[in-house]
Every structure is written in C-alpha cells, then in structure tokens.
C-alpha cells in the first residue's frame, strides 16, 4: 500500500512527548530495578535516608512508569497517529497547536511535582492515586487539554469515519476522566477543618466503600492506561509498519465494545474474600472471565493481520516487538482472569504471582508497544534513518530474556509462597512461618532483579539508539520516509 501523504504534519508536540517517554522510562524503570534489588537485599533500603526506602520508592516506580513513561508514550503517539489517521495537520489550527503545547507543559510539570511529593512522602496512600489534591487538579487540567486536542482534531478531520485507534484513544480519555474524578473525591483537611498541611486530604469515602471505589479505579486504570491506548497503538503501528490490512473489521468492533462493556465491572476481583458484598465479588470474578475474549480479540486480530508475513517477522525487529507484545498481552489477559477465579485468588492474592502478572503485561505488552511505536515514529519525526538495526535486535533479545526471568521467577515465588502459607501439618497447624517463605523466595527475588536489570539495559539501548538517530542518523528524503517499513541502518 502506497502512502498518500499530502500534508505536512506538525510533530512538535509528538517530539516533546517522545523525549518525555524516554526520560520517564529511564527514571521509572531504574527505580523499579532498584526496588527489585531492595526486596532481595534489604540493606539497600538504608542508602539514602528516608528517601531511599522501599516505601517511598515503590510509588515513585509505579507512578513513574504508569503516569510518566506510559502516559507520555500515549500522548506522543496521539500527537502522531491522531493527525495521520484523521488526515489533518496540527499546523492547520494554531488553537490546537497551543492546546497541545500547553498540554505538554502542564503534564510535565505535574509529573515532576509528583516525583518531588512522592519522594517527600506526601501521598494519599491510595494505590495509583497517591497524588494529593493540588496535583489531582493539575491532572484534571492536562486531561481536559488532551480531550480538547482529541475532539478538536476530530472536529476538523478530513477522513469521514474514525479509524479503530481513534476509538481506543477516545475510550481511554473518557474512562480515565471519570475514574480520576470519582476516585479522587477527597476532602482537603486544612481548608475544611483546619487540620493538617494545606496539601493534605482524606478520601470522601470510608471503609469498604473506599476500597470499592479505589479498586474500581485501580483495575480500570490498568484497562484504560495500560490497555486501550496501547491497543490504539498496535492497531496503527503494526499494520502500518508491515503494510498489511487489518484482518477483520468485525473482530475489531466486537472486541472494542466487548472490552468497553465488560472491563468496568471487573474491579471487584481485587477485593475477593474481603468485606465487600458477596455479589460484588462474584461480579468481579465472573466479568473477569468474560473479559478474556474481548481482550484476546484485539491480539488475535493483530496476529492474523500478520498472516503469511513470516519473512517480515524475521527481518524487522519492530515487528518482533509488536508480535511478541500482543502475545504477552494474551498471556496477561488470560492470567489475570484466571487469577480472578475465587479459588485461585484464594492462593494468588498477596503473593508475588501478582506482580509477576502485572509485569507480563507492562513489560511485555505496554513496554514493547511503546518501544516499537517510538522507534517507528523517530525516522518520521526527525527525517533520519534509525541509527542501528543490530542494537534493536540486541535490545529485543535482552528484554525478552529479562521478561522471561521476571515472570518465571515471580510465578515460582508466588505459587510457592501461596502454597507455603496454606500448608498445614497433620494437626491442622500452619507448617511455615513468614520467614520460611522469605528464605525460599530470596533467590527468585534476585533473579527478578536481574531480569529487570536486563530490561533496563534494553531501555538504555533504546534511548541511545534514538539519540544517535537524531544526532547522526543518515538524513532521509521525503520518499524514503513515506514508506511502511521504518528505515533503519541494516548493517550497523
């Protein structure tokens, strides 16, 4: 398929977000590797006083990778994909251009403040919603700006119908807006009751209700930050890079609405065997199972798009990232629902199997897709040939190994730990104390940290490769840019 590209797209904002993606990726994952080593070697907690403890750094890691790395990646691709599939240039509207730039500025400021506050221990202590109310307001602001950008661009589009990726970006926008607002309903204690610091707040909900809202949010943050926008990416970048048409429009449609309808009800699976009403736990569990198929639908659609394209898979590292990415997406969207079955959850909950599951998805799917997307965009943004194909290959294999080490060690650790916790002697007394499990788990914590370190090295290779592309990649003619396969230096 040829590329009709009559427009001069303006990628200023996309470039800014690309840099943010790389920067936050490095920060977030360096912290991730560090806390992974802390779990194996607790002495590492005492290197930087209070600022270096696991409890401070863990939220820094999760927020850094989710709201720094992933979200920057989402925005970078939006400002790239949005223009191209709607066939309008940002340059056509100085208003949307200004909105885009402001979006970036408010966003980066928010994330930097998030780093500072989390390091100082300022937190609401709700997982993934740790930011205090002033920052929540800033999040709201940049989210609204993103919305203006999405609907603004759609408003002035030249394509009659919206491409699949656009549906997914819209879904991400709407859902996160709703989740963010409802889970962050909080009371600033100083202004309401004259108690505590001015930035301090408490949740508007109490007890079980708070937990319910929190995990409705927490689960759907996974859905609408780690899933839908990433699906948006793969629906654009895989067909584009490979030059193949999407396998089935019907499958994309059904998977999309399936996902939308089912995801929002599944959050209860985080609260199985808790004080939450039984029917809600059951609902969370049952909807999780139904969720397998809409999730797999997108992945299958992408894998079938590659039918007969074995050769590309072997020769193009970007395709490798994306195909393996959808496979890891399948792995984690089967794993999650199965862990949501009550009898399995009875074992899996609170064990390391859960971080194992999280990272199947985040490292294998989210990370790989963002890496591939940025690689695909770079030659188009800078009109330079990607600096080195060999480095991409190396990165791919290092990171794949990293993921395998990560998830296999966490599976072993988690399942072993779960069964040890349950084990009883002939008299029905628990056989092991907590420290017994820690002793068994120690080697696997070490392996996880090593796996993470491999992945992190890959991230540095990625950053270096893109940096070198910008600095010293071969300049490309327009005709060389407007092709499907990303131009890359084949022999370096």
């Amino acid at each position: 398929m040829g590329n009709q590209n009559p427009l001069a797209y303006d990628y200023t904002v996309a470039k800014w977000f690309l840099w943010a993606t790389i920067a936050f990726g490095i920060i977030g994952m360096t912290v991730g590797v560090f806390i992974a080593f802390q779990m194996a070697f607790p002495e590492l907690n005492y290197l930087f006083g209070e600022y270096g403890t696991f409890s401070r750094l863990r939220p820094l890691h999760t927020n850094g990778v989710a709201f720094g790395f992933t979200m920057s990646g989402i925005f970078a691709t939006w400002y790239y994909v949005g223009q191209r599939v709607l066939k309008v240039s940002m340059a056509e509207s100085s208003f949307l251009m200004a909105v885009g730039k402001l979006h970036f500025i408010v966003y980066v400021l928010t994330i930097l403040l998030a780093v500072v506050t989390l390091l100082s221990g300022i937190t609401t202590s709700k997982e993934y919603a740790e930011l205090e109310w002033p920052l929540d307001l800033m999040v709201t602001l940049f989210w609204v700006l993103w919305g203006v950008s999405i609907f603004g661009l759609i408003g002035i589009r030249r394509e009659r119908t919206l491409y699949i990726s656009i549906w997914y970006y819209i879904a991400a926008f709407l859902a996160v807006a709703m989740l963010h607002v409802f889970n962050n309903m909080e009371v600033p204690t100083y202004f309401v009751a004259g108690v505590g610091d001015w930035y301090h707040s408490v949740s508007l909900y109490a007890g079980t209700n708070d937990a319910l809202v929190q995990w409705w949010y927490g689960h759907n943050a996974v859905a609408f930050v780690f899933t839908t926008p990433i699906v948006a990416m793969i629906y654009y970048f895989l067909p584009k890079e490979s030059g193949q048409a999407v396998y089935s429009y019907k499958l994309s449609l059904l998977s999309f609405w399936g996902l939308m309808f089912v995801y929002l009800w599944a959050g209860g699976h985080h609260l199985i065997y808790s004080t939450v009403p039984d029917w809600m736990q059951t609902m969370g569990s049952v909807f999780s199972i139904v969720l397998i198929l809409p999730s797999w639908g997108s992945a299958i659609n992408m894998l079938l798009t590659m039918k007969g394209e074995w050769e590309q898979l072997q020769s193009n590292p970007l395709i490798k990232f994306m195909v393996l990415g959808s496979t890891f997406y399948m792995l984690s969207t089967l794993e999650g629902p199965i862990q949501a079955i009550k009898s399995v959850n009875a074992l899996a909950h609170f064990t390391d199997w859960i971080p194992g599951h999280v990272h199947d998805g985040t490292l294998g799917w989210v990370g790989f897709m963002i890496i591939a997307a940025m690689y695909h965009m770079t030659p188009r943004l800078f009109k330079k040939e990607l600096y080195s194909k060999k480095l991409m290959e190396t990165q791919f294999w290092l990171q794949t190994m990293g993921i395998v080490l990560y998830f296999s060690s966490m599976w072993i650790a988690g399942i072993t730990q779960g069964m040890m916790w349950r084990a009883t002697d002939e008299f029905g007394n628990l056989s092991y104390s907590f420290i017994d499990t820690v002793t068994v788990l120690h080697p696997y914590y070490t392996i996880r940290a090593i796996g993470g370190a491999l992945y992190l090295i890959g991230i540095f290779i990625w950053a270096y490769n893109i940096y070198k592309t910008m600095k010293s990649g071969r300049e490309l003619e327009d005709a060389e840019v407007n092709v499907n396969k990303s131009p890359m230096a084949e022999n370096r």
Binding site: M1, T161, Y163, L251, T282, K307, I338, F427
Partner: protein, 299 residues
C-alpha cells in the same frame, strides 16, 4: 522462530517443574492448591498453544478477504468474519457467566461467610473425630506445633515472653505480675465469671514485695507468713487455688488456660486478646499440656 516455540514450551515446562519441585509435597488434597497449579498450567499451555497456531498461520497462510472501501493513512481493513473459535468461546464464557450468577452460586443466595462457617464446622468436627483417642505423644506434638503458630508470635518460640512482650510462660507468675494483681486487683474471669480479686488486699510495700517474691519463686522464701495470713483463704495454702474462689497461682491447669483463651487477659504487661471459639477442646488440652511442661522445664 521455530526455536521460539521450542524455547517457550521448554521454558513453560521448566517453570512448572521448578514450582512443582517446591510445592509437590505440600499441594495435598487442598482444592485451592490443585486449582492454582492447574491454573498455571492452563495459562501457559493455552497461550503457547494459541500462539503456535498463529505463528503457523504467519508462516503458511496468506492474507485474503474483501477490503473495506476506506483506508486510513494507508491502512486498510478486511471485511473478514469473526474467527469462529473465538466467537464460540466468547459465547461460551457468557453462558457460563449467566449460569454462575443465577444457578451455580446465585447472587442472592451465596455467602462467603456462610461457606466459611460451614467449612470450619466440618473441619473441626472431622478434627475432633480424628483425634478423639489421641495418644499422649501426639497430644504433646500437637501442643508444640499449635503453640508455635498461635502463641509464639507474642510469647516467643521459647515461651519466655520475649523480654516482657507477653507473659513468660516458663514460670507461672513473676513477681511484678503478682504485685500488679495485689495493687490493682484482678478481674480476668480466671476462676469464674463472678469472682474477682479486689484491689488493695495489702498496703504495706514491704509485705507486698515479700509475698510477691514468695509466690513468684514457687512458694519458697520469707513471704510465707504474709501469704498464709492474707491470701491462702482464697488461693489455698499451697497456692493451687480453690474452685470458684481463687485462681491457681502456682501451676498452669487446663481450666486456667481455657479461661485465658476464652476471655483474654489484662495485667502487668498489657493485654492478651480472647481466642474464644477459635480452638477445639483437643487443641486447648494440647496447648495446656505444653505450657505446663514449659513451666516445669520439661522441654
């Protein structure tokens, strides 16, 4: 890429193998363990299996179908039908969900607390049956295991109370506990719900010291007179207690331990929570035996 398939199969098998090597002997007949192991195998098996199917299609199949009229930035879409396997399984899960909600575990009838209560009751019943004629030796082993799970977190693995975190069970009472009881009285339902010891039976600090040491050192030493004059009427000359009147303050008895487990205990150190209804009679008997052995230094 064929290698990838082989590698993923090998990795999956090794993974399951390693897990099994750890847990093989503790899986037992616990349904949760069995289902979880099965879950792990299914997750890997299905993903790898389905992955292999699509890899084969990438190798041997070709893209085909009717293209939609539109394309976006050069990306086209086929109007292909849903993959039949996918559609069937999707429908299957929906049917299963409806069954689960309305028939399997009806939303309006299922209760996890109910299930838990039933499971515990069945377990306790079986437990009592299994150990109804428990041998002295089993009782002793049960007591030790029971203590290390339920009591050691506060009382210490040695039962010594870990430097005053909880009562030191290697002796019946230490002097500070006795002194505390004399000064503050004691109302822990040790002998009965209605009987307590009033505060202030003695005021003289010297006498209090003497009698406390006398009790704490196993009824030896100089406080004997004070004890016999002020305490023996309720606790007995030998300190072994008088049913319904005064607690045994010399040895641990099953009744005393049961009273502590049922009502918890407040005293010189702080408080111990009540464990009422949590243990079976056999378990309480076993731990009493164990604690009395601790006190006698027989372990």
């Amino acid at each position: 890429m064929k290698n990838i398939i082989i590698v993923s199969v090998v990795v999956s098998l090794v993974l399951i193998g390693i897990i099994y090597s750890y847990v093989g002997n503790i899986i037992g007949d616990d349904m949760v363990n069995i289902l979880s192991m099965l879950a792990a195998i299914l997750i890997l098996g299905i993903t790898v299996g389905v992955g292999v199917k699509y890899v084969n299609q990438m190798k041997n199949d070709t893209a085909s179908g009717e293209l939609a009229d539109e394309n976006w930035d050069g990306i086209g879409e086929y109007k292909n039908d849903l993959p039949i396997g996918w559609a069937v399984v999707f429908l299957g899960t929906i049917v299963w969900a409806i069954w689960y909600w309305f028939a399997g575990y009806p939303l309006w009838a299922y209760s996890q607390i109910g299930e838990w209560n039933e499971e515990v009751a069945t377990h306790q019943e079986k437990f009592e049956e299994k150990w109804s004629n428990i041998s002295e030796e089993d009782l002793s082993r049960m007591g030790e295991a029971f203590f290390s799970v339920n009591c050691a977190p506060c009382h210490g693995v040695q039962g010594d109370g870990m430097d005053g975190k909880a009562a030191d069970l290697t002796k019946r009472l230490d002097a500070s506990a006795v002194e505390y009881a004399i000064r503050n009285g004691s109302d822990n339902h040790l002998v009965s719900e209605y009987m307590s010891m009033p505060a202030g039976l003695l005021w003289n600090a010297v006498e209090i010291k003497q009698v406390s040491n006398y009790v704490a050192s196993g009824f030896t030493g100089i406080g004997k007179d004070v004890y016999e004059a002020n305490c023996a009427s309720c606790h007995g000359m030998d300190g072994m207690g008088i049913p319904g009147v005064g607690a045994n303050i010399r040895t641990f008895t099953p009744d005393l331990i049961k009273a502590v487990l049922d009502n918890g205990k407040k005293g010189a150190i702080g408080s111990m929570p009540s464990f009422k209804g949590r243990f079976t009679d056999t378990q309480e008997k076993a731990v009493s035996l164990y604690i009395e052995k601790l006190r006698k230094g027989e372990l």
